[in-house]
Assembly symmetry: C2
Homo-oligomer: 334 residues x 2
């Protein structure tokens, strides 16, 4: 026997397909007796809904797409994992789209997702602003942005950690622990979260009456960490007073810290270091790395909830949601 269809079930149960459909979806009226009868047959045959047919008929696909720059980044992976978990509970499949930061791939993905008739889209991070107009179809798919600037705010809901707060607290933490010349280490290309973190850093300095010198206090790194050692050495020659580093993420913090140690500079004694993201490795490095933890759980939950609500009504469009972060002090900054 090939796969059972609703028709087969109807036949076996001695009812019509309409009735079977009603029972399956608990939609409309039917007697308790037929309900039991139909359900029994379904159980016995192992009948499964054919989603392609259902999708076609209902113009709904029960799947949502997730656009992410790099799934092997711990923070992204964490968020995607949570998103997927929640979506699955709600009956949605998650189609993962790793754009590898390529605009071209992003467009190609968008096209495919649209063709598949996805019910919604979650866009995570990315340097350029996200433009839903890239979709060809007339009716735009609902989408939410996590740490990614939308081209047009009023077409989406924006969710992100309070990067500003995190950076501010991290910087003040350095100052309180005695740093007089803290610097910020970041990538040359800035995501929205990166910009916010920079602002938090600057404002913490300002509040403590420390002048922010663009050149002296910002250590700019290649995204792929080439020549990191050289860049660091050059920087320290030009900013010899550096006694604290706020790194925009843990990967940068880690690699800087290990380079400092190799150069014979003691962490945290001579230079204190603090990162961002609170990756598990922070506990295992030597010294252990201070960091700022993002609440991935809340971010993911909020994103999914917002998206689902968008599929039902558009009241929340234009909203912006900020998720608090927490400072996690460890040995590298104390």
């Amino acid at each position: 026997m090939a796969k059972y269809s609703i028709k087969d079930i109807a036949q076996l149960a001695g009812v019509s397909v309409a009735t079977v459909s009603r029972v399956i979806n608990d939609n409309g009226r039917f007697s308790e007796e037929t309900r039991k009868k139909v359900l029994a047959i379904i159980e016995r045959t192992g009948y499964q809904t054919n989603f392609s047919a259902k999708n076609l008929r209902m113009n709904k696909s029960f799947s949502i797409g997730v656009l992410v720059p790099d799934i092997s980044n711990y923070f992204f992976a964490q968020v995607v994992q949570k998103i997927e978990e929640i979506l699955f509970k709600q009956g949605y499949a998650t189609i993962i789209c790793n754009t590898a930061r390529s605009e071209e791939k992003e467009i190609a993905y968008l096209q495919m997702l649209e063709s598949k008739g996805i019910d919604g889209l979650i866009v995570i991070s990315g340097a350029k602003s996200f433009d839903i107009q890239k979709l060809k179809g007339p009716q735009k798919i609902p989408f939410v942005c996590i740490d990614r600037k939308p081209r047009n705010k009023s077409t989406t809901i924006f969710i992100g950690s309070n990067h500003y707060q995190g950076a501010f607290e991290a910087t003040e933490h350095l100052l309180k622990n005695g740093c007089q010349h803290p610097v910020i280490a970041m990538h040359t290309t800035a995501t929205p979260s990166g910009v916010e973190r920079l602002n938090g850093f600057k404002d913490a300095l300002k509040k403590n009456s420390i002048f922010f010198d663009d050149k002296q206090a910002s250590l700019l790194l290649d995204p792929d960490h080439t020549n990191l050692t050289d860049t660091l050495k050059t920087f320290l020659k030009e900013s010899p007073n550096t006694d604290g580093i706020f790194a925009i993420n843990d990967a940068i913090a880690m690699s800087l810290m290990s380079n400092l140690l190799k150069m014979g500079i003691k962490v945290p004694k001579q230079i204190k270091v603090i990162g961002f993201d609170d990756t598990p490795q922070d506990n295992y490095s030597y010294p252990t790395l201070s960091s700022v933890r993002q609440d991935t759980e809340t971010i993911a939950t909020t994103a999914v909830t917002s998206l689902i609500s968008l599929t039902k009504n558009t009241n929340d469009l234009g909203k912006s949601i900020m998720v608090p972060v927490t400072l996690v002090p460890r040995d590298s900054s104390i």
Copy 2:
């Protein structure tokens, strides 16, 4: 105007739907003139194939499922990323299924994937053997296993790193660098790859005429790393001669190393450490962590190629493919 259908295109182009379909799929014969005409309309309207309809008709979904225990594990993330990249190039969507090591979730996922009519399945790791019989449908979906033992070998293609070789080389590396009492650190629950690594470790000892004492030479850890510090201390008390640790993955290696340092034990001077997976953090820890690199690129490519070939013919069923690994010595073991 709502979304365009093939019917709309036909109308606009002044041909029949059949012709449009033929042009779109380059299937059957049609004149160059009509081809151009139809394509022009498609271009102008932004028409996109409705996959739900296509799937229903062709009984094919152009999407494949990936079952993975934990996407935030670096190795898994890496493999999934590559798989997704290759699949996308071939026109397939990747549905990610994070089982969180739960049997229950796995079954639920399988059901959903089957309902969606996925064309194939890639199963990554997992402690229990994978049983495709969990699927309810009559015709079984083609699938391949990466580092996961299938219940029945002849129903799949198995792909995995040469864990044995990696463990063997890592252990010999420790011995060559002077270790006399190396131990293996691993989780209490063993995946297929874990078992292979243990075998490699044992055989390296045997080859070098070192007796493997189950108790003295294996450091068993909780998968969630609770009480790791205590476990390590107890172990070292009972095996005080320990001068080298082969950790079954980098996370374990890292956390052991940091604990050793905290206890005042010098790495690599007193105890050498080597891990597995070659995560990026290995370069940033202090000391940098020696490891064994898995060739995620080849693993992913092989998995996808095998799966696609399975969808076309079943000749390769039962095959087992082993991907070489490479030793990456760093400071922690020299």
